[in-house]
Amino acid sequence: MAVHVNKRLCKGCGLCMTVCPKNVYELSDEVNQKGFAVISAVRASDCIKCKRCEINCPDMALWIEDDETSSKEESAR
């Protein structure tokens, strides 16, 4: 599953939500140091590692780790 969200880099544009076939992401209420409401991988366990989010993210905020099963969200601040 290993969905890594770097909330320091995320700007909450939501493009990951539009490309994810498994609806893993949702916009959260959490705001980062730049004032952006960031996304959260609320259904990380549904991830099928297609990496469409990672490849489409304009901010390099996402990373799907191949050989890892836990998921991790960096702190927003």
């Binding site: 890594h4 770097n6 320091r8 880099l9 700007k11 909450g12 544009c13 939501g14 493009l15 539009t18 730049k34 952006f36 990672e54 490849i55 489409n56 993210c57 304009p58 901010d59 390099m60 905020a61 996402l62 990373w63 780790e65 991790k72 960096e74």
Partner: protein, 283 residues
């Protein structure tokens, strides 16, 4: 390659970025960030050493791309990117030079440099991010704004026809020309890869979303998703376009590779390719 701060754990492309400059200044959902990733994936696939390459940007949102990359960078002279690139290539012909230009940088103030670089077949990769407007200055009409589009300076819709950059590049003599869009990252990476590997003037036009200005003015929506969809709906792959009528292609952008050929590259006042220089014992 010099890497100052490695990420503890994160997107592997971050190792090519100047991380102390992140997050980059592009607006949420801007296509410029996707172009950066596609470029870096191409660099990775070709195993290029970014540290030996030169990235050039003029002025504009797109032009800021090389500022964030671990490569030598020139930034800040609007439209004169190819003049800089010419100087570098004449002094150090083996240096790989990549220019990141907005549509204004490339076709408005830099238009003349562009056609002559193509005519000379300057050995440079020219990546044009076409976001259909002058984005950094607030979304004014630009030479690649589609006809009829509302922008900051055309409240009743633009009455000018836009340039077709790829057609212009081909007729001016560029030896690799392709058009793609940000919502097709695999194609974007593949074309940039071919361009970086190409000897001669290689042009990749990327149709990209500027949700902040073009999206809000022309579509009445600042949502990156809506603009990405609009761009997708206005593109036709070359293979499909060949079978379509002229009316059907009205207002559509053809995507694909328009030309891939070889001819001598610009080496100075006398055009001389590597083989001819060798023959004369000058290589």
């Amino acid at each position: 390659m010099s890497v100052s701060t490695m990420p503890e754990k994160g997107n592997p492309l971050l190792k090519y970025m100047r991380q102390d400059k992140l997050p980059h200044f592009f607006c949420p959902g801007c296509g410029c960030g996707q172009v950066v990733s596609a470029f870096l994936r191409a660099v990775e696939a070709l195993k290029l050493d970014l540290g030996t390459m030169v990235g050039i940007g003029g002025v504009g949102c797109t032009a800021r791309i090389p500022v964030y990359l671990h490569m030598d960078c020139l930034h800040g002279v609007h439209g004169r990117t190819l003049a800089w690139a010419t100087g570098i290539k004449l002094h150090k012909p083996d240096t790989k030079v990549v220019v990141f230009a907005g549509d204004g940088d490339a076709m408005s103030i830099g238009g003349n440099h562009f056609i002559h670089a193509a005519r000379r077949n300057l050995d440079v990769t020219f990546i044009v991010v076409n976001n259909f407007n002058f984005a950094m200055t607030g979304g004014q009409v630009a030479p690649m704004t589609p006809g009829g589009a509302v922008t900051m300076t055309t409240p009743y819709g633009s009455s000018e026809p836009p340039f077709d950059l790829c057609a212009m590049a081909v007729t001016s003599g560029a030896t690799y020309v392709a058009r793609t869009l940000t919502s097709n990252p695999a194609q974007m990476t593949s074309y940039i890869k071919t361009a970086l590997d190409h000897k001669g003037f290689s042009v990749v036009e990327i149709l990209s979303q500027c949700p902040t200005h073009f999206g809000r003015y022309a579509l009445g929506s600042g949502s990156p998703k809506n603009l990405v969809t609009w761009i997708k709906d206005h593109t036709v792959p070359l293979t499909a376009a060949d079978k379509m009528k002229a009316e059907e292609l009205e207002g559509k952008y053809r995507t694909g590779e328009f030309i891939k050929t070889e001819r001598p590259v610009f080496m100075g006042s006398t055009v001389c390719s590597a083989p001819c220089a060798e023959k004369e014992g000058k290589a």
